[in-house]
Structures are given as structure tokens and as C-alpha cells.
Symmetry: C2
Subunit: 271 residues, 2 copies
């Protein structure tokens, strides 16, 4: 299990991405990354055996809104030069989830013992990038104001399958005024590498959500008068697809503990 942290969030806030990764790599920080290295891309991590890599990369190609792929390692190579020259994917994430046959087995802060010559690492863009952009536009986000986790729901929208990977699209939901819903749509459309524009606004029942008060993940949220639910494709989608695929060993980041890249949050790497 992860050792006790010797560095606090507040000590890392304001540092450049490379220094934050250095502290994480040294085992000094295993906490959440939201709010760190503002302006830098953060990403979800998925590590699979090479036998599953092609099916998974094709799953991402077919479902770019829930699975916006921003980096793929060479097989057996833990570096990720397009996201940061020093990145070692085995140590640079604060906390990892180890899944065996879809079940969470343990959490660790260093996966060196799990990494092999057959491992492939995938990094997917995440909502932190577009939330940063929304806040910069003056669009408030309730789950942040309330210190909670954004509510997430399974929908009745099926993703395009690829090999063993399939399942419903999972969405995150943010309550916004009608005017902010429009502005948020325009702003997030500029972030295709971070889920892009909303996939639905309004009636949750149209996408198979019966009760907004009972999210499948995250915390329920309150609505103010006149607010609409605005739904974005969510990075839990590929995680759910991987779990239901019954993969022998899969490693992901622990929730809220992302890879912090050097590349800017407002642009897809390599573009």
C-alpha cells in the first residue's frame, strides 16, 4: 500500500508539472491532482497487456468523446515523451488501482513490479482540462464549490464495441443556467481531447437516467431554479468497459489521481 505522504497539496500547488511529478515519483505525494499544475493537461491512465492493446486503441478511436486518447506508450516502454520528456508511467501517478479480472485488487503508489515488456500504457484526456476552461470563463461548477465529486451516470447510449470492450456510455453531469449551458457547450467544444462538447442537455430520461439524485458514481448535486442538467461523456466509460471485459490484469490511476503532463490543457498533444 501507499506510504504516508511527506508532502502536502499546498506545497505542490503553484509548482511546475515537472516538480510535482518528481515529488510523486519519490513517493512523497499520493493525493488528488485537481488544482495542481493549472494549465497543464492531466490524463486518465490505463495499462493493459499487449494482447488487448489493439482492441482498446480501436475502442478509443470509435468512441472519441468518452475515450479521448492523448498518448500511447511503446510496448514495454514506460516513457511518454509526447506528454513530458521525463515521464515514467510506473511511478509518476500519485496512486494506482490494480484490477484483476475486473475487480479492484489493491492500490499502490509504484507499479514497477507489475510492469513488464508486454505492458502498454494509454493516457486519456479528462474533464479537469475543460473544467479549468469553464472556471476561467466565469462559469461556476457546483461540485467544486461544494467540495464533492461530480455525479456520474450510466446511460442507455451504447458505445461502439471493439473486441472485448463495449458497454454503455457513462456521463458526468453539471447543473448550469440555460445561458451557461450554451456558453459551456461552446467552450468545451474546443476541448475534443478532453471529452469535447456535451452529449446531452436537459431531460435525463432521454438518455436512460431515471433519477439524477442517485448517481452511479460521485455525489448527488442540488439544482438551483431554472438550471438544466448538462451531460458530458466521461472517462469512467472505458474503465467500465475494461472491467466488464474481464481482463486478467489492468492498471489505472486511482480516482482523482491523474498523470500531470507538461503539455498545455487547451490543446491535444501532437497537434
Amino acid at each position: 500500500m501507499a506510504p504516508k505522504d511527506t508532502t502536502e497539496f499546498d506545497e505542490l500547488a503553484g509548482l511546475p508539472a515537472v516538480d510535482i511529478r518528481s515529488a510523486i515519483r519519490a513517493g512523497r505525494y499520493s493525493g488528488q491532482t485537481a488544482g495542481l499544475a493549472m494549465g497543464c493537461l492531466q490524463g486518465n491512465l490505463v495499462i493493459l497487456h499487449r494482447d488487448n492493446a489493439y482492441d482498446f486503441i480501436r475502442y478509443c478511436q470509435r468512441n472519441p468523446k468518452p475515450c479521448p486518447l492523448v498518448g500511447v506508450s511503446d510496448t514495454g516502454n514506460a516513457s511518454m515523451p509526447s506528454l513530458g520528456l521525463d515521464i515514467d508511467i510506473r511511478t509518476d501517478i500519485p496512486l494506482y488501482n490494480i484490477y484483476r479480472h475486473g475487480e479492484l485488487d489493491t492500490q499502490v503508489s509504484d507499479i514497477s513490479e507489475y510492469w513488464s515488456d508486454d505492458s502498454v500504457a494509454f493516457v486519456l484526456g479528462c474533464s479537469f482540462s475543460f473544467e479549468e476552461a469553464l472556471l476561467a470563463e466565469g462559469i461556476g461548477l457546483r461540485h467544486i464549490d461544494n467540495g464533492g465529486t461530480v455525479p456520474m451516470y450510466r446511460t442507455n447510449i451504447e458505445t461502439a464495441p471493439s473486441g472485448p470492450f463495449s458497454g454503455p456510455m457513462v456521463v458526468s453531469m453539471r447543473p448550469l443556467s440555460s445561458q451557461d449551458a450554451v456558453r459551456a457547450s461552446v467552450v468545451t467544444a474546443r476541448y475534443p481531447h478532453a471529452h469535447g462538447c456535451p452529449i446531452h442537455i436537459g431531460s435525463p430520461e432521454h438518455i436512460g437516467i431515471s433519477d439524477l439524485g442517485e448517481p452511479d458514481w460521485g455525489d448527488p448535486t442540488v439544482f438551483e431554479d431554472g438550471e438544466l442538467p448538462v451531460f458530458w461523456a466521461c472517462g469512467v466509460t472505458p474503465q467500465a468497459a475494461i472491467r466488464s471485459a474481464d481482463i486478467e490484469l489492468c492498471i489505472t490511476h486511482a480516482p482523482g489521481r491523474m498523470l500531470i503532463a507538461d503539455t498545455p490543457s487547451w490543446r491535444a498533444p501532437n497537434t
Copy 2:
């Protein structure tokens, strides 16, 4: 070799994509597709053996500007439902190039005899989509006015390699006034699925092009007073990477003979 066409370009112009594909599938048309099914996405085709599929899809992920992947078939399955429900990739392109070990072996209008359970088809967005958008903005394109092929050049910009695939980025060049160069940058940025915004404007020597009058592919073009050369990443890049990779068998569209999809040209499929 391709049989003699029984349908003329002018008979197809104005027809919906599905009817044009039907004529092509029946072997009645083997000509170019530029100007057909305006508003519909057209794409470059690459067919590889499954053994090369993962390295190639990762090459596209790492080099999205020259290689904007818009569709990948299931292995051994010639349909492409995300681009058109009736598509049969073995028959729906007017003319195919068959490469063996990087050398053009023959051209055919039906690849059924080359397709196997191990074949994978990749479709990549092409400049037709953004050229259509530029023309709609009133930005003239000289190679179209002159009835020629856009000039293309090898650059000194190396693509990010993946397995056997590597090599220089190839660019297409269009001469534009300073004002149109800016407008064209803004317009084509909205087409990341079709090479996106320019990769360079101005000095060709900065990207390793010594003589604009001697393109590596296509026709030289003339400049009018005050015009700048504007360079976009080009779909010849992956073709050159495949040829230099010495792949046993690779099938592509013949130049100018694209897959015509049902999906709109202004939007990446699945988004």
C-alpha cells in the same frame, strides 16, 4: 485492370453518396471523386494485414495532423458502419493501388480477391473536406482553378515513429494572400479530422523545402504578388511511411479516388 467506365462524372455529380457508391460498386465508375457528394466526408484508404494494424493505428494516434483516422474496420470485416451503413470497402472505391513491398504492383477496381480474414481497413480524412470549406468561405484555390493537383513536398519534420512506420511529414501547399492565410487557418482549424490548421506559413526553407517549383508530388503552382505559401499536413505522409516500411501487401485508394462517406465533411465521425 479496371474495366471501361459506363458512367460519367457529370452523371454522378449531384447524386447522394449512397448512389455514387452504388455506381462505383457496380464497376461503372473508376474516376476521381473530388467534387462529388459535396458536403460528405471523403477519406483515404489504407488496408493492412492484422499484424501491422496496431503499429499503424498507433502511428495515426501519434501523428494526427497528417494521419487523421476517421474509421477502422473490424479485422476481416469489410463494412464501415460509422461512415455509411452499406459500405463494402472492397468495392466502394473507384480505383485501388496494390502495393507489394512498397512498390506499386497493379491498379484494380475491386479488391475482393486481395481481402482476407486478416485484413484491416483504415480510413483517414483528406483535404477535400477543408478545401470545400475554404471555397465556401470565398477563398480561391489555385490548383483547382488551374485544374491541377495540389503540390506536395517532403519536409524535414520527422513524424513520431510507431513500429516499422516512420519518416518525414509530407505537406500540401496552397498560395494565399496574407489575409486569406489567416482566414484559412481559422477555417481549417475546425477540421481536425481533415488535417486541421496549417503546420507552416511562409519560408519553405524552415521546413526543409528548397524549391517550391519542384514538388515531390503534384503540379508546381504560380504565386501572385504578395501571396504566401501555406502548408498543411498531407495524407501522402502515411502512404510514404507504409512504403518505406516494406510491408508485404498494402492496398490504398488510387490518388484522387476516395471513399465517399455518408457522414458530413465538417465533423469527425462519432463526435
